[in-house]
Amino acid sequence: MSNILELKDVSFVYSEGTPFRKVALNKVNISFERGKITGLIGHTGSGKSTLVNLLNGLYKPTSGQVLLDGVDIWDEPKKIRDVRYRVGLVMQYPEYQLFDETVRADIGFALRNKGMSEGEISERVIEAARFTGIGDDLLDKSPFDLSGGQKRRVAIAGIIAMRPDVLVLDEPAAGLDPRGRREILGSLHSYAEMTGGSVILVSHSMEDMAHYCDNVVVMNKAEVYKSGTVREIFSEAEELSSVGLDIPMTSKVAKRLLDLGIKLEGDLYTVEGMRDAILRYTGEVEK
């Protein structure tokens, strides 16, 4: 089965039975594939964050099912903790949650809680550190002596060390410089590829979505507005504007060129795709 995680008719209502009742998700159906990065986009209040909290059982659906490997995660509520090891959640600004004395101890914290042997922990910690680009020389330092970008990597490594089947990250690159963004988002790609795990990326950056994701789910007003491959979603860039989302800068350029009668074809939502489309149009490279 290629879908590792599935949401079936999931609804979530805040403050049910009170005057503050609010439907945050309304009969949502989404599947997340193994080995793929799925982007989750939608403007503030669209239901994205609620959705993230449902994926690893922090919230329980008001109705509907969250299926992990085909099994409803709420079938045995007492085992929900196991689900949290399998669906790793990296919250926004996760570096605020670092606390241990060394980077090594911090990354291995969850594994130790799980009762794993020290030898195995040590192996997993080094593997996770490599994924996120933390050098061996940093492992025995205090996490508080690191730069912001390094701290972020340590926090992400702490989740990756659990080798989750599904890795969910909420704005993992917020506040990082362009190189830091590229490195962290690039490491997610290798995680998905090498472990066959599914990565779910929540971000406001359309450029990052277009560049790093395989599939995209667009949320709007508590419902799935649209989902599909990056190409399917971003080739209809105007639809994204209509639900209050930004579109990649190169898509804007392509649209303006179209108004001038220049119809480019290709992946116009990334710099590279746009470059190739222009060169094909002028005949400088073969079609």
Binding site: H43, T44, Q92, Y93, S147, G148, G149, A174, G175, L176, D177, P178, R179, G180, H204, E207, G244, L245, D246, P248, M249, T250, K252, V253, R256, L257, L260, I262, V271, E272, M274, R275, I278, L279, Y281, T282, G283, E284, V285
Partner: protein
């Protein structure tokens, strides 16, 4: 009133580990070194640099959260590093140089919006009517008047940041430093904050320093300063800075998407040239190129 509002000479700062006071760390490398620059009253300056480049250290030196290890800083002609500069004068500098930080939740202190904005002026010991007037005017400037009695924690990120800005404006600063103030906001919140930043600069004549990782924000500034590994390496107009895509890449930064696209085309041997700072310019440059080739 001096024309040059911020002036630094050979400014340097080295962090020392306060827990290890007795161990003198001689090998600690400076976070900032040899920074000399002048910023004129009313300028709109973007400060770029990778994480850990020293740009936040620079900001903290300007409003005296940190004291320089070496070098001089003059704010509005006053030498804040001089021997005759007193503790009392520090408050004067902090009032003149307001700072808006990244996380709005760390900057709001009161449980009602108007009280939060009044916090600064109250501490200045101003008369009641003056405080009222400043709070109302500051909230109106950031477009938050209708939320005057609201609880700050129930606002959106962008709205919270606008309240934090109102709290700074109520102090009547001459300089406002935005230290990655838009990093935690969604695109709409970000647009709101940038719009206010620009209005304060253009309409109120406040000198604005915007420390940011968003190149599209930096492209809107009059001047762009790039700090790399503690040193000032670029200081020019936004237009000039974003033409040098290779240099920006070499220090871990990017250009605007438009400039990146033009550079990518050149990189493939296309003889394309023209402006690309704004969307309009990028479209024009590419359209001209295509029409010339066809």
């Amino acid at each position: 009133m001096s024309e040059v509002i911020i002036k630094t000479e050979n400014l340097g700062y080295t962090y020392v580990d306060s827990l290890d006071d007795d161990i003198v760390k001689v090998d600690q490398s400076p976070a900032l070194r040899g920074v000399s620059l002048e910023i004129k009253r009313g300028e709109y300056v973007a400060v770029l640099g990778h994480n850990g480049s020293g740009k936040s250290t620079f900001a903290k030196l300007i409003n005296m959260i940190l004291t320089p290890t070496v070098g001089k800083i003059y704010i509005d002609g006053v030498d804040i590093t001089g021997d005759d500069f007193t503790e009392e004068d520090v408050f004067d500098i902090r009032r003149k140089v307001g700072m808006v930080f990244q996380n709005p939740d760390n900057q709001l202190v009161a449980t009602v919006v108007e009280e939060d904005v009044a916090f600064g002026p109250e501490n200045l010991g101003l008369p009641r009517e003056e405080i009222r007037q400043r709070v109302d005017s500051a909230l109106s400037t950031v477009g938050m008047t209708e939320y005057i009695k609201h609880a700050p924690h129930k606002l959106s990120g962008g709205q919270k940041q606008r309240v934090a800005i109102a709290g700074i404006i109520a102090m009547k600063p001459e300089i406002i430093i935005f230290d990655e103030s838009t990093a935690m906001l969604d695109p709409q919140g970000r647009a709101e904050v940038v719009e206010i930043m620009e209005r304060l600069n253009k309409e109120e004549g406040i000198t604005v320093l915007n420390i940011t990782h968003y190149m599209d924000e930096a492209a809107r500034a009059d001047r762009v300063v790039v700090i790399n590994d503690g040193e000032l390496i670029i200081d020019s107009t936004a237009r000039e800075v974003f033409k040098n895509v290779e240099l920006l890449h070499s220090v871990g930064l990017e250009a605007t998407q438009g400039a990146e696209l033009i550079a990518a085309l050149s990189g493939c041997g296309a003889d394309i040239s023209g402006e690309s700072l704004t969307l309009d310019e990028t479209v024009e440059t590419i359209a001209n190129y295509i029409l010339r080739k066809k």
